[in-house]
Symmetry: C2
Subunit: 287 residues, 2 copies
Amino acid sequence: MQLIKGTLIPIGGNEDKGIEDSELYSLEFIDNGILFHVVKEAGGVDAKIIVIPTASSIPVEVGESYTDAFKSLGCKNIHILDIRNREDSEKQSSIDLIKSANCIMFSGGNQSKITDKIGGTTIHDIILERYKNEKGFVVAGTSAGAMAMANEMIAGGSPKEAFIKGAVKMYKGLNLIPELIIDTHFIRRGRFGRQSEAVAKFPNLIGIGLAEDTGMIIKKGSVCTIIGSGMAIIFDGNTLTHNNEKLLNEGTPMTMANLTVHVLSNGDQINIKTRQIKVLPIESPFV
Amino acid sequence: MQLIKGTLIPIGGNEDKGIEDSELYSLEFIDNGILFHVVKEAGGVDAKIIVIPTASSIPVEVGESYTDAFKSLGCKNIHILDIRNREDSEKQSSIDLIKSANCIMFSGGNQSKITDKIGGTTIHDIILERYKNEKGFVVAGTSAGAMAMANEMIAGGSPKEAFIKGAVKMYKGLNLIPELIIDTHFIRRGRFGRQSEAVAKFPNLIGIGLAEDTGMIIKKGSVCTIIGSGMAIIFDGNTLTHNNEKLLNEGTPMTMANLTVHVLSNGDQINIKTRQIKVLPIESPFV
């Protein structure tokens, strides 16, 4: 297996509190604590950061919001790459930006827009290639931007219909970390059920539910360290002794026995290859 | 250990959809499918059924609603015991009703009202005594009425602050089934987090999260069979390898490694003494 050299930082997302209900039209509130890690991993304040607000329905505003947030951390080399269609993903100017970036930052919104407009294009290939081969190259993403990092991507699903087969919709993501299924806004939007169903569909993968203001720094394609103020809920389907997902008709309640769940917080680690947990001693400082 | 002879039927609850948000003031929509099991376990349509609407803020309406529901199933011997204070729980008329009942049905509302007004009173003692010693004696409860069956009772807790120590409030319940921590309205209200925290507090107990329109028939104080159209989520803390709940300050995110979770549906069983799961074959008819 090829050793991944780049760094992946999926982030759970955290919107402006006044308009929390709408994922598509909300301006994200980006916590400096987590963005600080993104900047640090990308090489510091001189890093060239490319913000891709494609998932958002208000890409201009979201782009400005990220620019302001990165500027407040001292960054000067920030660019918005506002991909609106697949042709934009093939433009030489887009390719040049992606080739020269130290960090790609995908905004929140609708994850299917990311895969529709970028998946399989030249810039997608370059991102994958650089992530695999270049130490210090960072791909970060908030909310939809985090979910799109998986290969089996959660595209939608009502939390109210959780654990009913067919409640979760899965599409193909950007395949940066095929071992994971990533969900975000995990606590406040009650998304345990749809992640459980996703893991039942793909029991060899690990389901990750990132809480608001919580992220993971993933190195070597395997070692995940939790950052931020909340928790990452990990669903490991390897221990399942019963899982009838494949047999059920759509709309039928599921049965799953012996799903292993971890609740991890700041500084804790999971190795997604060995599935081992490393818990930070309680007296340790905040990461 | 004494063998329990009575039957316990906690039910996840399911309110009239128009006013779903308020637990205290909503008229419960009681599904006939689940009530049918309650009536059957109590001996059929001639069973003497006592409805206790004490948890509700609209006890008269809730009492009428249950009366109508039981009548629609053919029951004729239905009584409302509208306990409003501890004195009501000591009245001879209340004691006589509890002594002569085949089935006690606790309504939803606020579970703390049940324990405040009934816990430790004479009728509580009689219910416990009859549940332990009388085959065919049924104690059923919807929502708050189900949660109050535990000894370590979830009294409240915001789903939005889940996995932060202190987010769940625990009080003492009616102690009918001390091995369990029971939560209800589990899927639609996103209560995974507060149940996880409750299990972290009491890792030797089993956490049960009942979905809407889902219940369990518990016999011999141990064998639980899932009834209804949804799921019961089971949290088994026995496998935890790391749990920092006892060490953390209030307001701190928790870490729990290797929590075992089961998602069970109609006809599946868990034995809460042996912690073994028995899954209904997929071709089996609905229970």
